[in-house]
Symmetry: C2
Subunit: 189 residues, 2 copies
Amino acid sequence: MEFIRKFLEQSVTFTEEDWKLFSGKWRQQEFAKKSFILKAGITENYLSFIEKGIVRFYIPKDDGSELTFVFAFDGWFMSAYDSFLTQTPCPYHVETLTDTILWRLSYADLQNVYSATILGNKIGRMASEQLFLMKTKRELSFMQDSAQQRYLNLLAEQPHLIQNIPLQYLASYIGITPQALSRIRKRIS
Amino acid sequence: MEFIRKFLEQSVTFTEEDWKLFSGKWRQQEFAKKSFILKAGITENYLSFIEKGIVRFYIPKDDGSELTFVFAFDGWFMSAYDSFLTQTPCPYHVETLTDTILWRLSYADLQNVYSATILGNKIGRMASEQLFLMKTKRELSFMQDSAQQRYLNLLAEQPHLIQNIPLQYLASYIGITPQALSRIRKRIS
DNA sequence: CGCCGAGTTGAACTGAATCAAGAAACGTGG
DNA sequence: CCACGTTTCTTGATTCAGTTCAACTCGGCG
């Protein structure tokens, strides 16, 4: 739990009491590379913190291809958060790309923490804020950048991603086909 | 403040004491049609609740055109929230489309409410969650729907929008030019 | 009445999708 | 550790949705 505590202490203050109530509920869980954390159709029951690993969210499309729209890394909160918040079935898959260790808090436990402590609400708020900022950035990138620019941004902001992640997932993430990304790569190299 | 209270009571419980502490800080403010709520370059200082009116967020582009990416309506929380959260200058304009009444809470007051009450954090969390869900929906729509489909979705979900908002803003919002939207309209009618 | 911004329509152009085929990389079993 | 098959990536040709540039129409308003 030290990861989470350190992460939180950067921006929130809390009492030892609150921390105990809050931290007691989290459970560690390990996932092998290329395994499902959550399958489409299931309702997300966890807010997770990634201790180690890379996670991918994707929608299986009718033609057999996959639409990747989230990558999540070490030190981030991670959840199929729309499914989690609304407690409705998740329309996409959540899968590990590498061996992964999560710390997880269930929906019910989180609701209890929300009603019992200020800290819980702060965590919930901060997780939501972090996710909101990411989506906002991505929205603007889609609206005002070209595909090539989105790829260059990705290179600049997540260079390690390029080593670890198959081109087809990256292509999907920036909203184009693998073929198109292959041509962009050729053009800029 | 009754609007906000009613809105909150749908999903949060709180004490009368918390409510007093929280509600005392909000200030009502009116804006005429087509006036700026926030200009680009200024840091957002308010979380607002829209009692009445329609608000538009847009980025002025180099070629003189505008990129509209948010509409907000009666009964919603509204803020240049990325600027607000990070307390950095806002890269876009926020403008009223109609006469508008806002209830506003300053950043400093909100931070105080956060440290003093659970309710404050709940509000902050819920505002973030609401905004996150909107962005998520929009992200997926951009990735998997055609421009025509995005327009049809808009028609279905916000029919009153079509009456009140110039076509060029709608076009920009769904990510295409006014000409392209004009052709889509022709095609589907 | 004439102007002006908003919307429409047309024609040429472009970035990316699609379809298709080959090359490279990857992993699994022998 | 190599051989084979499978998946991933690249490259080419064609098609398509949407952009751009330009001209024209319409409705409101001084």
